[in-house]
Symmetry: C2
């Protein structure tokens, strides 16, 4: 019965995700769902990303956390509008569902946005199961987490359209084989683009920014 | 309805957890449930811990992962019996439930164990909701994850009996305020013991080993 109910919850979410997708198409905004373990550096990556995109790309961000608006406050310092979702009101949900996303998205002047990023709750498992109507999914893995995470948590890497391997500035101090980590990603998702970068130093950001600009341009028709 | 069903699932789990607790009492074994984000270093911490406990404390470990038996293989090299649970058979569950634990526990010669550790699935949210009949809960936070995780994921730190702050060998290379991290833990769980250590170098292990030996001794009556 547990599995049937989970199936119903996922089906209801998928229906709402299709509604979201239609809304985002009308608004002509590219939506990126960014997922990872807690502490992989999603927020820091987004801060540096927004600094490079603004003001040319009009950007907003929805931030999911169980508690606190720490991340929204950090992100707003870059100049983006940030909308925080806290799931402690909903039993401390471990992921964001499509209905919460649409509710938050309506708080933006979405007609004026080119890019809407959803920073999902830090969890390498459950958010992968919930379509939110996004155009693309990013997974962030930090080099401190170990090379085998893609094969231990394969669904997340299978549903992602690209991956960021973050915190490469720490490689000299770790026993971490970046080539093996990328090979493990490609074992579960062949040919997925992987951007190795450091959100702290800015090293390796250009290919990721180019990827994002291309995607925004393809969706919105805006020349960048 | 989703919330009601979740409640039923949790209630069924609690009932099974009580059965587990009775089983572990009969077997006179201390059970520790170790939880954390992916990549915090649970396995490495346990490898070093088992090296210090064996053969005086007869130890077994149940290892939860969605996929792979990588961690069980690593742990068995210390000489412990390791039983892997993979949840990909159960829809890729993001946590371990009490029924799976009892099934695995019965594969041990539990009459001969003083300590049974459960290395839970890497997830800082969902495992906190599922009682498995354990005697104590440990949460591992790595210094690479950021100081604010205890306030962003409070339930995990509230249900834990103690915390390990791992990877302190990396502190010189990070902007991480260990005092603030501990203060955040104590904000959500006043006076919780916190052991700052490095599973890589072995630094700081003694207080944690002493805590564990005391707990095993209290439960089993064995002098250590």
């Amino acid at each position: 019965m547990e599995i049937d109910i989970q199936k119903n919850v996922l089906e209801a979410n998928d229906t709402q995700a299709d509604i979201n997708r239609k809304y985002f198409k009308e608004k002509n905004v590219f939506v990126l769902n960014m997922m990872s373990s807690p502490g992989s550096g999603k927020t820091q990556t987004l801060c540096k990303t927004f600094e490079k995109l603004l003001p040319d790309i009009r950007t907003g961000v929805i931030v999911g956390d169980i508690c606190t608006d720490n991340d929204a406050i950090r992100l707003e310092k870059t100049g983006v509008q940030a909308e925080q979702i806290n799931t402690d009101k909903f039993g401390g949900d471990c992921h964001l569902e499509a209905n919460l996303i649409l509710e938050s998205a309506k708080k933006f002047k979405a007609a004026d946005l080119d890019l809407l990023v959803v920073e999902n709750i830090g969890n390498l498992v459950c958010p992968a199961e919930f379509d939110i109507g996004e155009d693309a999914r990013a997974v962030v893995l930090s080099v401190t987490e170990g090379e085998d995470k893609p094969v231990k948590y394969p669904l997340m890497f299978q549903v992602a359209d690209m991956a960021i391997l973050n915190k490469i500035d720490l490689l000299p101090y770790l026993d971490f084989d970046a080539k093996l980590a990328v090979a493990n990603m490609h074992q579960v998702h062949p040919n997925m683009p992987v951007f190795e970068l450091s959100a702290k130093t800015g090293q390796g950001f250009e290919p990721w920014i180019e990827w994002l600009k291309t995607k925004v341009s393809e969706k919105t028709g805006k020349k960048l």
